[in-house]
């Protein structure tokens, strides 16, 4: 348990100070490719921001997020010494306190009293074959979370309907979600499964692709269509509106076609460790 706490703590801090290489690469490529002078200037500033954050241990963004934790537990793993949930929340508490990260969590959505230690996190468990424990910490900012949507399409809406939902969501998000954004999409499953797929899609490397050929094509098509919207860096125009689109699909019901679009800003944070 102590090891889990220690890892979660380090991962919270790490995620908020340094972006993963795949996200960084895309941002750097975008800065080179952007043709609009103001857009280019903003992307250069975002690059500089990453350097300052890394060098001086200042969080990349002041919204250090709600800590989303994915836990994949091998079914042969036996964890000793207390509750896993408590160990994870303790890691979040220590990480956000000792790492000088912002405490953004309120204990109740209506009475809104700050818990002052950024707990609790949102924890998703998955039991898988094997004897390893995989942890992913993905702090999520709410400027972009607030612009996410889930739509229950009809089967007759088909893939064109899905494309419309994705584009419309990015348009609605506009400058609010701190573009350039990363777009995580879930298609299928049930209402909650679909949202979870979209969230998980955001933790997949941006240089990876879905293995299903039509989904891979959809990822590429949507990325270019989104960038053609000209929302641009900070919403002030340009060809860099998204750094990547990741899509996950799951079987669904004969009567349904759920689509969830989880918008994330360029500060798309995720750290993964295998214990």
């Amino acid at each position: 348990m102590e090891e889990i706490t220690k890892n979660i703590k380090e991962m919270c801090i790490e995620a908020n100070l340094r972006l993963s290489e795949d996200v960084k690469d895309r941002l750097f490529q975008a800065a080179d490719a952007e043709e609009k002078p103001l857009g280019k200037q903003i992307l250069e500033q975002l690059k500089e921001n990453l350097c300052i954050a890394d060098a001086e241990s200042i969080p990349i963004c002041q919204d250090t997020g709600m800590a989303v934790v994915f836990v994949r537990i091998g079914q042969e793993v036996h964890i000793e010494g207390g509750s896993l949930e408590d160990a994870i929340n303790e890691g979040i508490r220590q990480g956000y306190t000792e790492g000088y990260l912002r405490k953004s969590i309120v204990r109740d959505p209506i009475d809104r009293v700050n818990t002052k230690d950024n707990t609790p996190g949102v924890i998703h468990y998955e039991i898988v074959p094997g004897e390893q424990l995989e942890l992913t910490v993905a702090p999520k900012g709410f400027g972009s979370e607030n612009m996410s949507r889930i739509v229950m399409l009809k089967p007759a809406d088909g893939i064109e309907g899905v494309k419309d939902v994705i584009l419309e969501t990015v348009k609605l998000a506009g400058p609010n979600a701190c573009p350039p954004v990363v777009v995580g999409v879930g298609i299928g499953g049930t209402f909650e499964k679909c949202a979870l797929l979209a969230k998980k899609a955001l933790t997949r490397e941006l240089d990876s692709h879905n293995e299903i050929p039509y989904v891979r094509e959809l990822e590429e098509e949507m990325l270019s269509k989104i960038n053609a919207l000209s929302i641009g860096p900070a919403g002030l125009g340009g060809s860099t509106t998204a750094l990547g689109v990741n899509i996950e699909v799951y079987p669904t019901h004969i009567a349904g076609l759920p689509v969830a679009v989880n918008i994330c800003c360029h500060v798309n944070r995720h750290v993964r460790r295998l214990l």
Binding site: L38, I42, Q45, L46, E48, N49, L50, I52, A53, E56, S57, I58, P59, I60, C61, Q62, D63, T64, Y100, L101, R102, K103, S104, R112, N114, K116, G143, N146, E168, K171, L172, G174, P175, N176, A177, C178, L229, S230, I231, G232, A234, G235, L236, G237, C265, H266, V267
Partner: protein
């Protein structure tokens, strides 16, 4: 156009700023976000005093991360402005001249900016480490119990911001991209 502006943000300075101007801002500004706005608004409606002077001042929609030893402030970028829209017209009516945030504003806010002469600046979202370097002093002046949401007085030096909406209702978000809200309501 690049402009260097110092606070207080007086009427003449406001009227000189145009959507698209890239502004380096220096002087005293204040921070307030959701919870502080709610309190300010409720105090004003109840006719009570508020802990800051609004006249010719600028509010930065910011809830910083904590400062490490030796730092003035932690990461310090803008939060989404639209959540303040409900409260903003009253603040503008009482003399507030500038706001720094990110994202769209409501029609009511834009109308009030026109009526009372104010500007809306965007700072770059997600550049909190970079922006923190322009903040030379930070002091909590009210609502300490709100933690990151307390009202702070900041001394800034050449804080880079962009005029997105000016007092004439020119709106860069509308000029620069073809974002048409799907619900037909431009209130984000």
């Amino acid at each position: 156009m690049d402009k260097y502006i110092s606070t207080p943000l007086t009427e003449d300075k406001v009227m000189d700023l145009k959507a698209g101007d890239y502004v380096y801002l220096s002087g005293t500004i204040y921070t307030a976000r959701d919870a502080a706005h709610k309190r300010l608004y409720e105090s004003m409606l109840a006719g009570k005093d508020i802990p800051l002077e609004l006249k010719d001042n600028i509010i930065y929609y910011l809830g910083p991360s904590p400062a490490r030893e030796g730092q003035v402030i932690g990461s310090a970028g803008p939060t989404t402005s639209s959540r303040m829209d409900k409260y903003t017209p009253l603040l503008l009516k009482n003399g507030l001249k500038g706001m720094i945030g990110k994202g769209k504003r409501s029609v009511e806010v834009i109308d009030a900016m026109h009526e009372y002469h104010a500007v809306y600046f965007a700072a770059i979202g997600g550049a909190g480490a970079l922006l923190s370097k322009c903040i030379k002093k930070a002091e909590v002046i009210a609502y300490d119990d709100l933690g990151t949401e307390a009202i702070r007085r900041l001394e800034v030096e050449n804080l880079p911001v962009i005029v997105v909406i000016d007092a004439e209702k020119n709106n860069m978000y509308e000029q620069e991209n073809a974002v048409i809200p799907a619900n037909g309501k431009d209130d984000r």
